[in-house]
C-alpha cells in the first residue's frame, strides 16, 4: 500500500479517536449538569479550544509514530513532498470536507432555529468538522485507489 494511503488511514483513525473521546467527555459534562447553568457556553468554549489543541497534538503524535513504525517494517522513508497528483487529490479531499462540513453546519443551525440548546449546536458544528475531515480523507482514499 502506498505511503500516502497509509497516512490517510492514520488520519481517519486519529479523528475517530479524538471525536470519540470528545463525545464521551461532553456526554459526561452533560450528565453532571454542567450545561444547565448560565456558564454553559463558557464550558463548551473551553472544551472546544482544548479539543482543537488535543486533536492537533494527537494527529502529529500518531503520524510520527506511524512514520517510525512504517520505516522499521517496510524500510521506506517518509514522503513529505507532494507531487502534482497528490496536490490535486488533496484539493478533492478539501472539497469533500467543505461539503460535509457545510451540511453539518446548516443542520446545526436548523437545530438552533428549532430550539436546541446552544451548547448542543456548538457540539454539532464541532462534530461536523471532524466528520467532514473523515469524509475528506475517504474522498482522498477513493482517488488514490482509483489512480485519480
Amino acid at each position: 500500500m502506498p505511503y500516502q494511503e497509509k497516512k490517510i488511514y492514520v488520519s481517519i483513525f486519529s479523528a475517530l479517536i479524538v471525536i470519540g473521546f470528545f463525545s464521551n467527555y461532553i456526554f459526561g459534562l452533560s450528565q453532571d449538569g454542567r450545561f444547565d447553568g448560565a456558564d454553559a457556553s463558557v464550558v463548551m468554549g473551553k472544551s472546544i479550544i482544548a479539543l482543537i489543541f488535543i486533536s492537533i497534538a494527537a494527529n502529529i503524535l500518531l503520524q510520527v509514530i506511524f512514520a517510525i513504525i512504517n520505516a522499521i517494517i517496510t524500510r521506506e522513508s517518509a514522503e513529505f513532498e507532494a507531487d502534482e497528483r497528490d496536490k490535486q487529490i488533496e484539493q478533492k479531499g478539501m472539497q469533500g470536507f467543505l461539503i460535509a462540513f457545510s451540511v453539518g453546519y446548516v443542520a446545526s443551525m436548523a437545530a438552533l432555529a428549532l430550539g436546541s440548546a446552544p451548547h448542543m449546536v456548538f457540539f454539532g458544528v464541532t462534530a461536523s468538522m471532524f466528520f467532514g475531515s473523515i469524509i475528506g480523507d475517504i474522498v482522498k482514499l477513493f482517488f488514490y485507489r482509483r489512480g485519480f
Partner: protein
C-alpha cells in the same frame, strides 16, 4: 467514468530504455512511483510540465509519448 482521450507509450519507452523502472522514471521526473503508475494506466493526465519532462527523459518528442484522441475520431 468519462472515457480517457489521452493515451501514452510510457510502458514501451521504459522497456526500450533498459527496462527503466517506474520508480526510476518518477525520480527523474520528480513525481512518485504511484503517479507514474496512474499516468501509464491513463488514469491521470499529467501537467504539461511533467509531460514534457517525461518526454525529455526518453529523449523523444511529446507526440511520441502521448497521443490525443479527439471526440468523434475512430478508435
Amino acid at each position: 467514468m468519462a472515457k480517457r482521450r489521452i493515451s501514452n507509450n510510457i510502458r514501451r519507452l521504459r522497456f526500450d530504455h533498459d527496462e527503466m523502472t517506474q520508480k526510476q522514471l518518477g525520480e527523474k521526473v520528480g513525481v512518485t512511483r504511484q503517479t507514474i503508475v496512474a499516468i501509464e494506466k491513463a488514469h491521470y493526465s499529467p501537467s504539461l510540465e511533467v509531460a514534457f519532462q517525461i518526454a525529455h527523459v526518453f529523449g523523444a518528442p511529446l507526440e511520441d509519448v502521448f497521443s490525443f484522441q479527439p471526440d468523434g475520431a475512430p478508435d
